[in-house]
């Protein structure tokens, strides 16, 4: 499927990905090429084939619901862009 510039803008918005308007035609071309390439898969008959999510077909392992570690907030926040009083700061969301 060929993507045009408005498709690229829509996808970039969904991914919250800022892209330079000047680069949009290049992305439209590259992404269309990649999609055309993966569309080879359409030629394969996969009727009745169970999708494979995990190469070893393992299922989610469960553990006992016990406290094993505590969150080391100070350590983790040390390299955050902006914090205050143990909170991560972002621009005001609610006026």
């Amino acid at each position: 499927m060929a993507l045009d510039s408005s498709d690229v803008e829509k996808i970039a918005y969904l991914a919250r990905l800022g892209i330079d308007p000047a680069d949009i035609p290049d992305y439209a071309r590259n992404l269309s090429d990649i999609l055309a390439f993966v569309e080879q898969l359409n030629a394969v008959d996969t009727t009745g084939v169970e999708p494979l999510a995990h190469p070893l077909e393992a299922t989610q392992r469960l553990r006992p619901d016990a406290v094993t570690e505590t969150v080391d907030r100070e350590n983790f926040q040390q390299h955050a862009p902006q914090t205050e009083a143990g909170l991560y700061l972002v621009p005001r969301v609610v006026e």
Binding site: A15, R16, L35, N75, H79
Partner: protein, 484 residues
């Protein structure tokens, strides 16, 4: 000293020929002198390495040393290292000092290995040439105009140039085996779930697997022994004892059945690579192995399947890079939306953006069944081909890559052409199988890799098969000119 293998260095340390501090200094000196032209390292951790080396020397003195104690290694910059920058090759994480160690980091520390630095890589491991790194490309020591392969390009080139005896890598679609082939070193991607992914920055979680680069299979056995193991902190880690990878290295290959997938030996294969692989297979026949033609009829689906599954998983994994809790944040955000959009727009490079967008698209409403579900079905067909093949053969062999190292910039503008350089490695990740690349010859002065693929958890068998080959050939001893 830099020409010694890990096994030889471990013996030298034990016999007191040199100390770990001396060995570490020698590595750091070589990195300081030669890495400017290669760009293998993003961060060199000299001071920390010397402190680790001192501790290792004390352990060696007290007789509590293991085979890795005091051995310098380079760590791919995708593994979290407490207190040390962990960039994943991205501007997004240029300021990220990891607040904890990856399990692999912890295990290598416990074994007494000495980390001398963090290696360059394609941004978030997305690339086959190391050209997508924010820190610039790595140059191949065999020809600095050529790529080292990717994404673990720095780790492969550092071992090839004899800067370190061993390094770590990760392999999502060939990122250990492909650079190992292009740089002429030994690389091993274990079975999915064998090496913990905890603290290994995620690209495509159902495919990512860590493993070692070394010069020899015997060295890889030691590295893998330290890296492998069950980890409760990785939900897809497999709870199964780790084999003694060194014990069976010398087993005879008499009667070994080697499957040759016809799909890997046809059109598109460089003639120099084909000749080297043919010669390597003849060596195996001399060692007592039998060659059996096999077919992997769905092999051609591997690359297209991968470029749905991997971007889908990456678009989800990389959503955590949002400029809020760690990593890059755009200056003066107008509102929260602007903070997310510009932090991600300015922090990610073009290849990462392409993959996030492909992933976002194939997972979006209305397209999920056509792309993602279809790819997961194709993935099963690819896996079944291998399972069927392993009913009749012990290992599968073929070229690791279709060509030797290509020139810097040669494929950089055409993503699909670049993706096809992983045509022989990707199916192995989709199936979750272990695979190795070992040096098998030179084509116009550039290394050629032989890929050896095994059944699930057959790492010991792969190492044995590689080791026996290395005892009767010297391709793994070839050193890039200028690095002898």
């Amino acid at each position: 000293m830099h020409q010694k293998t890990l096994v030889e260095l471990a013996a030298g340390l034990r016999q007191g020929e040199f100390s770990s501090v001396e060995l570490t200094r020698a590595c750091l000196e070589r990195v300081g002198r030669l890495d400017e032209q290669l760009n293998c390292f993003i961060t060199v951790t000299g001071e920390q390495a010397l402190a680790q080396a001192q501790a290792a020397d004390a352990r060696l003195q007290s007789g509590e040393a293991g085979p890795l104690t005091g051995i310098p290694f380079a760590h791919k910059d995708i593994f979290c290292t407490h207190g040390v920058k962990t960039s994943c090759g991205s501007k997004m994480l240029d300021s990220f000092i990891a607040p904890y160690d990856a399990t692999v980091t912890q295990q290598l520390n416990m074994a007494g290995a000495v980390m001398i630095g963090k290696t360059n890589m394609d941004e978030f491991a997305m690339g086959s040439s190391n050209e997508t790194s924010y820190y610039g490309p790595v140059n191949n020591p065999w020809d600095v105009q050529r790529v080292p392969g990717g994404s673990s390009g720095g780790s492969a080139a550092a071992v090839a140039a004899r800067l370190v005896p061993a390094s770590t890598g990760t392999d999502t679609g060939g990122s250990i085996r492909q650079p190992a082939a292009l740089c002429g070193v030994t690389g091993l991607k274990p079975t999915y779930g064998r090496v913990s992914r905890y603290g290994m920055i995620a690209f495509a979680s159902s495919l990512d697997q860590g493993g070692p680069f070394t010069r020899t299979a015997a060295d890889a056995a030691i590295m893998l022994g330290a890296m492998a193991g069950f980890d409760v902190r990785d939900s897809t880690s497999v709870d199964r004892p780790v084999d003694d990878y060194r014990a069976g290295l010398d087993h005879s290959l008499e009667g070994l059945k080697i499957g040759l997938p016809q799909e890997f030996l046809g059109a598109g294969l460089d003639s120099g690579v084909a000749d080297a692989v043919t010669a390597a297979l003849a060596e195996y026949e001399k060692l007592g192995a039998t060659l059996v033609d096999i077919s992997l009829p769905n092999a051609a689906l591997a690359v297209p399947t991968y470029y749905v599954v991997a971007p889908a998983e990456c678009s989800s994994n990389l959503s955590r890079m949002d400029g809020v809790r760690f990593g890059y944040r755009a200056s003066d955000p107008q509102d929260l939306e602007d903070l997310y959009t510009r932090s991600r727009g300015e922090g990610f490079g073009p290849e990462v953006k392409r993959r996030i967008m492909i992933g976002t698209y194939v997972l979006s409403a209305g397209y999920y069944d056509a792309y993602y579900l279809k790819a997961q079905q194709a993935r099963r067909l690819i896996r079944e081909d291998f399972l069927k093949a392993f009913e009749t053969v012990d290992v599968i062999m073929g070229p690791t890559t279709p060509t030797p190292a290509f020139r810097l910039g040669e494929k950089a503008d055409d993503p699909v052409t670049m993706y096809l350089s992983d045509i022989y490695t990707i199916a192995v990740n989709l199936a979750g199988l272990p695979g190795m690349s070992i040096p098998a010859g030179l084509s116009d002065g550039l290394p050629v890799g032989l890929q050896v693929i095994g059944d699930y958890f057959a790492e010991a068998r792969l190492l044995n098969v590689a080791h026996r080959f290395q005892q009767v050939t010297d391709w793994h001893e070839q050193t890039p000119p200028g690095y002898e």
